[in-house]
């Protein structure tokens, strides 16, 4: 199958959507499909062979954050040229309702179009103001995919229309084979955290509090932290001196090794998570997971981890203590996690995406062509 994928965000910058597009494209290539990814890129060297650059992206403030996007007449021309040259059986765009390459591609294309919605964003003012234009975009999409139940609900409630829920994939093999970092996990118990620890909704202080409660009775307990941020901003209790190891921002390979280095991985998030990608990664790495009892986390874990009430440090401390003292229970949870995470393995997820492609192709006539009649006057 000839598949054209549009990624709205620059490949030079790390991000969930970019990783998703990259992994999906590589699995599809591995399954024997011809894939071309159109994405903004600063520097054309060093891009994977299947990526076509749409030129450099400009930072745009949107929905309270800065996104690097390509949008405008030059981008539009490149999108058209790419579509015309690609002769795709199906076009797969990501995040098509933000002003981006994806949106340009949807407007410029005719034929089978599949769209994946990643964020659980609610309707922004921009979108509300341009209802007619939004409808123009949405009605060109043949089939919609949402990566989480929350993203799907946003689809139904705010954009009208349904979506098939297909979760984010995780490269299980990459994580399952990771070696622990030297000297970890050790014998005194090791607890891990990954993410922006300075961001309140990630709940890092809750974990620190819980570890501080355990520290007096466990002299060798350590906390391994990876993620961008200034460690000096963390208000660490004094009795944790020397017990918290900060790795800073880690490569993907080290992320896998970090997850393999701890006895228990903790996700103390207080909200705002629509999927819980990190949990599938931790599960793939064979870590035992303790997570706050958020809807998204409960669904992903499916019983393969311990849950504790959101923001409840004393209960987390108790949960951690129990898990650290019970290796058999940890093994049991990790084994179950391996089974659960198999459903999120990229090859499995990619086959589900291919079924959506097939459905979109059947439900339209012909291949993807450029739409010469686009006159979005309203």
């Amino acid at each position: 199958m000839r598949i054209g994928i549009v990624c709205p965000y620059s490949f030079d910058v790390p991000g969930g959507v970019q990783y998703h597009v990259r992994d999906l494209a590589e699995v599809l290539v591995g399954l024997g499909h011809q894939v071309s990814v159109l994405a903004p890129a600063e520097d054309e060297d060093g891009l994977p062979a299947y990526v076509v650059s749409a030129g450099r992206a400009v930072p745009v403030r949107y929905n309270g954050s800065v996104a690097r996007l390509s949008f405008g007449p030059i981008s539009a021309t490149r999108v058209r040229r790419w579509l015309a040259a690609g002769n795709f059986d199906v076009l797969h765009v990501h995040e098509p309702v933000t002003p981006s390459l994806s949106l340009l591609a949807v407007l410029a294309a005719r034929g089978p179009v599949v769209a994946t919605f990643h964020t659980a964003m609610t309707r922004s003012r921009v979108m509300a103001a341009a209802q007619g234009a939004l409808q123009l975009v949405l009605e060109k999409i043949t089939a919609r995919i949402a990566v989480s139940e929350l993203a799907r609900r946003v689809q139904v409630e705010h954009l009208g229309g349904g979506a098939v829920e297909i979760p984010n994939g995780v490269a299980v093999a990459k994580f399952a084979g990771a070696q622990p970092l030297p000297g970890w996990p050790g014998t005194g118990g090791a607890v891990g955290f990954l993410g922006r620890f300075t961001e309140p909704r990630k709940g890092f202080p809750i974990l620190l509090d819980a570890v501080a409660r355990l520290a007096p009775s466990r002299p060798d307990l350590r906390l391994l932290v990876a993620g961008p941020g200034d460690p000096d901003l963390v208000d660490s209790p004094a009795d944790l001196d020397g017990r918290v190891v900060m790795l800073g921002r880690v490569s993907e390979e080290d992320k896998a090794r970090m997850l393999a280095s701890v006895d228990v991985y903790v996700a103390p998030n207080t909200g705002g998570e629509s999927f819980g990608m990190i949990l599938t990664e931790a599960m793939a790495a064979g870590a035992t997971v303790a997570a706050s009892d958020l809807d998204a986390f409960r669904r992903v874990l499916d019983g393969a981890g311990a849950l504790f009430p959101v923001g409840d440090a004393p209960t987390l401390a108790r949960t951690l203590g129990d898990l650290l003292d019970d290796p058999a229970r940890r093994t049991e949870l990790a084994d179950r996690a391996r089974k659960v995470v198999a459903a999120y393995d990229w090859p499995v997820v990619a086959r589900r995406v291919l079924e959506v492609y097939a459905t979109a192709i059947e439900a339209t006539t012909g291949r993807v062509t450029t739409d010469e009649s686009t006159v979005p006057l309203d």
């Binding site: 009605e139 499916d302 019983g303 089974k339 959506v356 459905t359």
Partner: protein
């Protein structure tokens, strides 16, 4: 001189309006063509599912009389009764005393999943077609007059594995 500009202006406006109307008419036509294509795909997967269910009922013998009957009814149902018959078949398939990964269920599970996807796509395009039919310019100029009113195919989600299996 003024007269010439008048003519230019009128011609420009007429051109713009004509372009807009042509484009809108094309949009209406395309959406209705997609409704037809999407229905064709949905129909094909439902037929495939019913055929697979009938074949399955044949291999189960004895216990599957009601499944065989439901599959037969789904295949033979006239237009107005199709939805009820398909829902009945979905129910019969859901109460089968077999695990979803049982090899005998393979074709039925795949066909059901594909039918579920096709149903979603059909529902979305019907909604979009109905929305475009409600537009003032479309109603006023009766741009949709040559197309029959699209209708939803109102059945329950036919996917059998919609609710994630609990692993042992």
């Amino acid at each position: 001189m003024d007269g010439v500009w008048w003519v230019f202006g009128v011609v420009a406006v007429v051109l713009l309006v004509a372009t807009y109307l042509t484009w809108t008419a094309g949009r209406v036509d395309r959406l209705h063509a997609r409704v037809d294509a999407a229905y064709g795909a949905l129909d094909a997967h439902l037929v495939r599912r019913a055929a697979a269910a009938a074949a399955l009922a044949g291999t189960l013998a004895g216990e599957a009389v009601s499944l065989a009957a439901a599959a037969r009814l789904a295949l033979d149902a006239p237009a107005g009764e199709r939805e009820i018959a398909e829902n009945d078949l979905t129910r019969q398939l859901r109460v089968l005393p077999l695990p979803l990964d049982h090899p005998a269920l393979g074709e039925v599970v795949v066909a059901s999943r594909r039918a579920a996807l096709a149903r979603q796509v059909h529902t979305d395009v019907v909604r979009d077609a109905l929305a475009v039919r409600r537009r003032k310019v479309v109603r006023l100029l009766r741009l949709a007059r040559k197309h029959p009113m699209p209708t939803y195919f109102d059945v329950d989600d036919p996917a059998l594995d919609a609710h994630r299996r609990v692993v042992a």
